[in-house]
Symmetry: C2
Subunit: 372 residues, 2 copies
Amino acid sequence: MKNDFVVTPWEVKGEIDYDKLVERFGTQRITEELLRRIKKHAKTLHPMLRRNIFYSHRDLGWILDEYEKGSKFILYTGRGPSGDTHLGHLMPWIFTKYLQDSFDAKLLFQLTDDEKFLFSESLSLEDTKKYAYENALDVIALGFDSKKTEIFLDTEFIASQYRLALKVAKRVTFSTAKAVFGFDNSSNIGSIFFTSIQSVPAFLESERQNKAVPCLIPCAIDQDAHFRVTRDVAPMLGYPKPSLIHCKFFPSLTGSDKMSASKTETSIFTTDAPEVAKKKIIDAFTGGQATIKEQKEKGGNPDICSIYQYCFYIFEEDDEKVRELRESCRRGGILCGECKRELAKRVAKFLEQHQKKREKARDKLEEFVIKD
Amino acid sequence: MKNDFVVTPWEVKGEIDYDKLVERFGTQRITEELLRRIKKHAKTLHPMLRRNIFYSHRDLGWILDEYEKGSKFILYTGRGPSGDTHLGHLMPWIFTKYLQDSFDAKLLFQLTDDEKFLFSESLSLEDTKKYAYENALDVIALGFDSKKTEIFLDTEFIASQYRLALKVAKRVTFSTAKAVFGFDNSSNIGSIFFTSIQSVPAFLESERQNKAVPCLIPCAIDQDAHFRVTRDVAPMLGYPKPSLIHCKFFPSLTGSDKMSASKTETSIFTTDAPEVAKKKIIDAFTGGQATIKEQKEKGGNPDICSIYQYCFYIFEEDDEKVRELRESCRRGGILCGECKRELAKRVAKFLEQHQKKREKARDKLEEFVIKD
């Protein structure tokens, strides 16, 4: 029953068929031709593109057309600050950094503390603000260029966003919001309005520069719903439709599902002590057999293995080595324990380095965070 | 069919039965006892109270209780800036000034340029901002105390209002908004959210002072819908429910209907040249007979006469003179022409004086208007 899954900005459930999502949402797959064009300008093709992790798009060709004509695009992505950052959140940001570096692109990074307050019964505005600043440290730690990056919390940047949000809101009916997001009579009126705010950064640079500035939004595919609304409204406001490039979800340590901040034992947070992260990896679900003997005889199944997925998504940049790992697993040439220990080492090393940069980022917040 | 009328914040239609409105909305009539208590503190009772123009309330007794215990209330009222100010708009503001003077009360005056943009297909944010500043001149011209009055445009004061608006919005379901305001699938998502913004000033002073500050809202009865929502939400946010004091609608020059800015020929604007206003009054509907002879024989009907209503609502402060006018009209002792000329003279004089103050108000905007 691979059709029995749910993907909305607030819920991801079931075993996701990414091909079906492309059909459902009406997006496009990233073609070889597009990859060639990206590589031509970026020089290198990011592993997440080579591996089809960023796999779907809207109007990516147009962004490249404009770029080739000399019209630079801005990048827009963000984070709903409902908890600590985990590796799944980092994934699209790592890719966004590659785009910033490769295309010399300005980045607008929206922290939707308003959204997470409106959609969570338990979170206060103080909570979502606190998380927003913690999440911002992770963004900065990834090495974005402070001269080309603006990070903002909605509640601290609303004066700069409200007028554009009103213009969006005026063009979106309840009927549309209901169809796209599944609202009903019990939805609060803030949650219904919220998508207007998420649209704003797509138009902000065009408004500031008073000319059409192309905008590319790298995001996980669950956020597509918001930007379908944004794109529908754009021509009515006289702005170009933002383009999108969508990634799949980073898996949890159970081997399936999207990594979720609410399941702390099967997610690795950027603030986890390296030893804690190692322990989580050692406890993770793999595609291995019950015994060493069986593993050696029958081989494992990397497709359902969280350890393999981790290497594939983030922790092994070399395609050849990924291929070797896969083969070796399949033919029983490597045991789960070895695999786990190798990944644990890499993740621990990554966390150590990231956490140092993250602490240094506290002093850089002012360089990155803009307020009204 | 006096039940066949509509009163919402965005539509007033039919012949209004103000008694039925009190029942429909579940408000209270202002009792003699309340009037006595107001007079005790205010020294004088405003004609609009004596004449039952401000005729309905919610929790006015509580406001007086608090006042008597030494806890001052703030006043909150406002204007949806969709056009020029007419005399109908001035009416509750004149009364609000009386309350400010009598109770030494701070006033928050909200100009909902966001609302009027969201609810009008044709108005731009530039339009509603322009009207807002024009309307603000009329507020200031009435003589409010700049030390006790804060006027703000929503789009220029949103950073100060957004967090409170989110807290309200989180507690209001679409179901409630639909029931109170009559929204449907075609309503835009900004209009659905908007009532959250209109609630904010009722809580703002409590938030600023970090203690429960009583708030009294003088307004025309059509605005009650918003504040029913505000009052329902208040306890959930830990703020006192705002109290309300409601007035009837200032009539148009047709003798019935609410004066409406969209009907320019039957409304008198504060910016009308005195001669133009005079002409409108001379052309107005009266309760008089078709001929002088008939008028003298049968007398006129002041109850349906716009000229009489104008005197009653604003232009004759002396109750005895209003009574005399009424009597004289009924027994045919005064002709419509005389009555019109007398009112025209008074209105022209009022406009001349108001327009001078209004021009001077341009230099005072900075004293009154607060921005983020």
